[in-house]
Point group: C2
Chain length 292, copies 2
């Protein structure tokens, strides 16, 4: 079965799953929970350092919290590895702790086990008085994206060609936790672009029962991508290549001046009544199936 | 490296890890978090049903919350599997949800991924105003254990001999969540017996800077064990066989009459100044290394 079909079964079985993180009302606020499984064959190319492996395993879950506008409270890490070599474990933990610290939170516990394949499961707990859902976009809102696209696809090319140092740096992406929190009072809908921009636009459109119309010329792209990926492959890398972990969000135009000083983002289009279009053409819901 | 050595590194790297679950002060209460990785080769013998796999993956984390006297709030499940067959996934989720329901909580989300080996990571969130630590036992307290010992060791024998139906039933242990909550106001220290009774006694003694003296004749044992395991192997199975997931706790004698009506348990000995002894003989700190 494809992951997307299995996820449908899980969604049906698990009432509250449907956003980037589960929302639990708790007192006068909400607790948010998310978990992600990453493993060697799918998520960590040859050349990825232990530090990068630890960083990224935590970052994908923190990115889920960021996409809900939540403040992270704590992170757990379950680690399986064939060798359990001390140097490797120390590297993974150092990367995981550094990513937690960068997001203002802590690694508070975990589990470890001998395993046939390197497998890392990060789980993150956050808090948000008003979490941002996928379902609030309204026609006329601006469609926006934080930072720059293309880091992961560029890093994968660089790992393949042996440029491991730059590849590791790009692979250690910053979960947009602070920006997510700043956006929470304004954004009408938000996701992280974990499965590619095209798929994320379709997600927002479907959950909000609207459409999106964006322009390719407005998409922010990292300079490394232009130098690394041949021109004919760039569009696909940006639109359908996954695991960018920038935030895709919608914003009423009136709030643009509130958000511009505190978050680095670009307006890439507008919410429309129906359809997902790039430069006026239908953009297929082509995704990226992965382990994050 | 042995798991126990790796756990030492993790403990040093992760300040708050040291009890069954991490404790996060939150408002006027505490949030508790725990995660456990289980996988095919280590944790699921041939004959374990999908339902049992799901149940047990959730139960080990709920047992960690029970050992802190916490109320479970939510559970997450990350699942990796080579085939992702629909019937199998549905079975795992049914077992996981049933275990959550039995403990008064819900499966709220998860992740799924194709993986070379069946791997399940449960994470649980709980709440406790006054979590029970491992470190509060005082000389003179009673040493007590809930329920009956030997379920997992008996189940493993039954799986090996093909008696799968009874083995699956024994393997789906009840996390002692309700008893843990009832004990929280009274118990001076508590753990779950995930790594064997002897090791758990040593844990409590070390963390509380005391000793324990217990009597073998007082240990409660499931009838199945007597029928299944030859007499010469029974002591080892009970003392050093792991994954019983009953609660081992210490209790001031004055509170015995408060706890007796609400929790099913046996007094098996007494907290002493130093040493861990069975029938007056030193009991070695022999553990059970596992994936839970």
């Amino acid at each position: 079965m494809r992951e997307s079909e299995v996820l449908q079964i899980i969604r049906a079985a698990v009432a509250k799953a449907g956003d980037d993180a589960a929302i639990l009302p708790f007192g006068e606020t909400n607790l948010l929970l998310t978990t992600d499984m990453l493993h060697r064959t799918t998520d960590f190319p040859d050349g990825a350092s232990p530090y990068t492996i630890g960083w990224r395993s935590v970052a994908v879950s923190l990115s889920d919290l960021a996409a809900m506008g939540a403040r992270p409270l704590a992170v757990l890490l379950a680690l399986g590895d064939p060798d359990l070599a001390e140097r490797f474990i120390r590297g993974v933990l150092a990367g995981a702790r550094a990513c937690c610290a960068a997001a203002g939170t802590d690694l508070v516990g975990g589990d470890i086990d001998q395993h046939s394949e390197l497998t890392v499961v990060g789980s993150a707990l956050g808090e948000a008085a008003n979490p941002v859902r996928r379902s609030g976009a309204g026609a006329g809102d601006l469609v926006c994206v934080t930072g720059e696209l293309g880091s992961t696809q560029t890093a994968l090319r660089l790992f393949a060609t042996g440029a491991h140092e730059r590849a590791n740096a790009l692979f250690c992406f910053s979960p947009r936790v602070e920006w997510g929190e700043s956006l929470a009072p304004f954004a009408t809908s938000m996701v992280d672009i974990s499965d590619g921009l095209a798929h994320s636009l379709h997600l927002l459109a479907r959950e909000s029962r609207v459409g999106c119309s964006i322009e390719e010329a407005l998409l922010p792209v990292i300079p490394d991508l232009v130098q690394t990926i041949p021109q004919e492959a760039r569009s696909d890398a940006i639109l359908f290549g996954g695991e960018d972990y920038e935030l895709l969000f919608t914003l009423p135009e009136a709030d643009l001046k509130m958000v511009s000083p505190i978050v680095s983002f670009r307006v890439i289009g507008r919410v429309v009544c129906s359809g997902v279009r790039l430069d006026g053409q239908d953009l297929p819901d082509q995704g990226w199936e992965h382990g994050g």
